[in-house]
């Protein structure tokens, strides 16, 4: 027994040590990584390239009554034109205000004590001004809609009879298109909004209110759902702690329903953005919708390309807004299963 052990030990001492090589990435691991990168980035890039190719083929080969459909390069060119036009207009505006400042100084020097009226530059809004106007309008409408939808949704979720009373109206008004609301809203705003010093343009208000009316439904329904499906245990906690109803809503019900509310808000913003473009076309709010309609009325050979630039802009902005809301939604979510 002991001899064998000694032999083995001798052999072990003589055996050369195998040098340790550093760990090598196997072929399979590299393949795996490449596949993941391809799937995440490569696939969309390729599909985008295919889309551009098909588009340019269709554009050059399909002839329409009104000339040809603009291809990707024509649209890109128009985007450049709009960009330059924006900066040219800004230049004019700066010059105008410089002149105006001189006038003002002159006038006040000659007529001390009198007031120089508040003059604004009267050039047409540029494409980027219009984008800003659209964004302002959609956020205003979204805010108005949410300020109505969230409280009403909470009450709907808490009280079954209230929900039953309100539900028929929700179901009837939810499917109404913005183009149907708009004339009514415009007439009402025209008749009722006549303050001596208006803060808002009537067209702006009409568009914002129409956006609110169409976009408040997802938030309302989701809020009601979120409040109604609150875990009974949380309400029991509230009862044991004898929380007043305001504290209950603020500390227990709202935080619990917040993920649902944010889902609703996200849907609402998406709907609102779509509705806005249609509303602006008719209400004449100087935003992207009006831009499209004006370009259409021009009927020039650049019209289709300009409208396509607007289409892509609308799409990208809608996408960005959605991502923003998703981010906010993630921030307020909690893992509901981990009570």
């Amino acid at each position: 027994m002991n001899e064998a052990v000694a032999n083995v030990e001798a052999v072990m001492e003589k055996a050369p040590t195998i040098p340790q090589k550093p760990p090598v990435r196997t072929n399979r691991e590299t393949d795996e990584r490449l596949r993941k990168i391809f799937s995440a980035i490569g696939a969309p890039l390729i599909s985008f390239a295919i889309f551009l190719f098909i588009w340019s083929q269709v554009a050059s080969h399909v002839k329409v009554n009104f000339g040809s459909i603009p291809g990707p390069m024509a649209v890109w060119k128009q985007a450049g034109v709009l960009w330059d036009a924006h900066w040219a207009e800004r230049q004019k505006e700066t010059e105008f205000y410089q002149e105006l400042a001189k006038r003002r100084a002159d006038f006040l020097a000659k007529n001390p004590g009198q007031t120089f009226p508040d003059i604004k530059y009267s050039g047409p809004p540029t494409y980027f001004d219009q984008i800003c106007t659209s964004l302002e309008t959609v956020f205003t409408g979204f805010l108005i809609g949410s300020l109505i939808a969230v409280p009403v949704g909470i009450i709907c979720g808490l009280s079954r009879p209230f929900f039953n009373a309100v539900n028929p109206f929700i179901q009837i008004f939810k499917p109404v298109s913005p183009l149907a609301w708009l004339p009514i809203v415009m007439i009402m705003v025209s008749a009722l909004y006549n303050p001596p010093h208006p803060w808002f343009e009537k067209a702006f208000l009409s568009s914002a209110i129409t956006v609110a009316m169409c976009s408040l439904w997802p938030t309302l329904i989701n809020t009601a759902l979120g409040v109604a499906s609150i875990d009974k245990d949380y309400l029991n906690v509230a009862r044991v702690l004898k929380l007043g109803w305001w504290k209950q809503i603020w500390k227990i019900i709202l935080p619990s329903a917040l993920p649902y509310i944010f889902t609703g808000l996200r849907l609402s913003l998406g709907v609102g953005w779509m509705v806005l473009i249609a509303a602006e076309m008719l209400a004449q709010n100087p935003g992207l919708g009006k831009f499209i309609w004006d370009m259409f009325q021009n009927g020039s050979s650049d019209t289709l390309a300009q409208i396509m630039v607007a289409v892509f802009t609308i799409g990208f902005i809608g996408f960005a807004l959605d991502r923003l809301m998703l981010l906010l939604q993630r921030l307020v979510s909690y893992d509901a299963k981990a009570i």
Binding site: G80, D84, A88, E99, D106, K120, M281, S300, S301
Partner: protein, 461 residues
């Protein structure tokens, strides 16, 4: 900002950039010309210097655009922004609601609003923007049928004016088959509606009546007329939804340019030097801002004068109007009608220097008789439901058309030496009896009911 993109891309943009910078310099110079609130000759200041006017994208909004671009508004101490509107109804509504201070309007709009057709509000006009400027275009298919019906038309340069009698047999054929021809016009009280009806009625075709509560105006019609917004007219014509339309420019020339239709007649040939667009404001606004209104009219008169001053000016105007914030159509399409020519069939381009008249022939004076003509047409087709005595016509015209404001503006301009005293007509507001109509009937503004009785087609008094 100078990128490495190919010069091709940048060419248009560079031109635009230079254009707009040049304009910036011009605007600056205009500002420098006269101190906006300096005491002017009469020692008056405007009540409301910052104004917003609306317009529709048609070439006869030119006086407004030129008044702004050439600095005439600046000279009067006005800071005007011009905003294109979606359609005539919205434009009128926004003027009435106060969102727009004033607008480029169809001559029929102040009239209809004041007497209560479509809406009720007191709208007045102190300035007529232009004469003529419309055309009637038919589809290629209809033109071929017309040429078959009347071989005289089947030549490269058919004799003008083309009356609707070539259309009459086609109209009858279609009506009997149960598919009456459809025509488009821009608004129930638009000049286009009335000129189209006049043209059709002159050949004995009934364009329909607005009687017995029919607001579409298709009662007893041989052809059906409907409202279509101007930008959609070429498209609907190409689709075959309508087979012809009456509209202002650039939509007739667009049809020729794109090969989808043939303009057959201009309203110049229906009624030589007919009133077309006006500048309208609400009576309330005019009451609150009298000096501002006079200043606006002054600027507009100067713009009209500039437009008719030379061929060169017209070319410059085409370039300005082709900018996307104004009419936006391609420059050469606008030039086709604004620089003294008009293209009918493709290749049939004729000299028509009076297609648009902005100043000559007292184009800018708001004559009562012009207003009365529109009132007679409204009565002829039933938009005015009952017969009215001659005095009513005159009294209504005096409510709506305001030559007194025009004259105050004109006098100020004469004093400043901007226009000649011979440019302003000496008149009591009624033009002399006029028989330059396609059917030869004489129109005397003082006797509207007699005029109505002369028509074969149409409601009598």
């Amino acid at each position: 900002m100078n990128s490495k993109l190919s010069s091709n891309f940048r060419e248009t943009t560079r031109r635009q950039f230079l254009k707009t910078t040049a304009k910036g310099v011009l605007a600056g110079a205009a500002l420098g010309a006269l101190h906006p609130l300096a005491l002017r000759a009469a020692g008056v200041t405007v009540e409301k210097p910052v104004l917003k006017f609306g317009f529709i994208k048609l070439t006869d909004c030119a006086p407004l655009v030129i008044a702004k671009e050439n600095g005439y508004f600046d000279d009067e101490g006005l800071y005007v922004s011009l905003e294109a509107q979606a359609n005539w109804k919205i434009l009128l509504d926004r003027v009435i609601s106060g969102e727009l201070d004033g607008a480029h309007m169809l001559a029929g709009q102040p009239i209809a609003a004041t007497i209560g057709i479509g809406t009720k509000a007191n709208v007045i006009t102190p300035f007529s923007m232009d004469l003529n400027g419309n055309g009637i275009t038919v589809s290629n298919d209809l033109w071929k049928q017309m040429q078959e019906a009347d071989p005289k038309l089947n030549v490269p340069q058919p004799p003008h004016p083309i009356s609707a009698s070539a259309l009459a047999p086609i109209v009858k054929r279609n009506k009997d088959a149960g598919t009456p021809l459809k025509f488009g016009m821009v608004f129930p009280v638009s000049t286009h509606n009335y000129y189209l009806r006049y043209w059709l009625a002159a050949a004995g075709i009934s364009p329909g009546y607005y009687i017995n509560g029919d607001t579409t105006g298709t009662t007893n019609a041989d052809v059906l007329l409907s409202v279509t917004p101007p930008p959609q007219m070429p498209a609907t014509l190409a689709q075959g939804t309508i087979c012809g339309y009456c509209v202002g420019e650039p939509w007739n020339e667009q049809a020729v340019f794109k090969g989808i239709g043939v303009p057959v007649i201009t309203d110049y040939e229906i009624w030589k030097n007919n009133p077309e667009k006006v500048f309208g404001v609400t009576e309330e606004w005019a009451g609150k801002n009298p000096q501002t209104l006079i200043a606006v009219v002054k600027a507009l008169i100067r713009a009209g004068q500039w437009l008719d001053a030379s061929h060169d000016n017209r070319v410059k105007a085409c370039r300005i109007l082709s900018q996307p914030q104004y009419v936006g159509a391609d420059e050469k399409v606008i030039a086709n009608s604004m620089t003294g020519t008009f293209e009918y069939q493709k290749g049939d381009k004729r000299s028509l220097p009076d297609f648009n008249v902005f100043f000559r022939y007292d184009a800018t004076y708001p004559f009562y008789s012009d207003c009365i003509w529109f009132l007679t047409q409204m009565r002829r087709w039933g938009q005015i439901a009952e017969a009215k005595p001659d005095e009513w016509y005159a009294a209504t015209a005096k409510k709506i058309y305001r030559p007194e404001i025009y004259l105050q503006a004109a006098k100020a301009l004469i004093a400043e030496g901007k226009i000649k005293s011979t440019d302003v007509p000496e008149t009591d507001g009624f033009k002399a009896p006029d028989s330059n109509f396609i059917d030869g009937i004489t129109f005397d503004g003082r006797k509207p009911n007699d005029y109505l009785n002369q028509f074969k087609v149409g409601l009598k008094d």
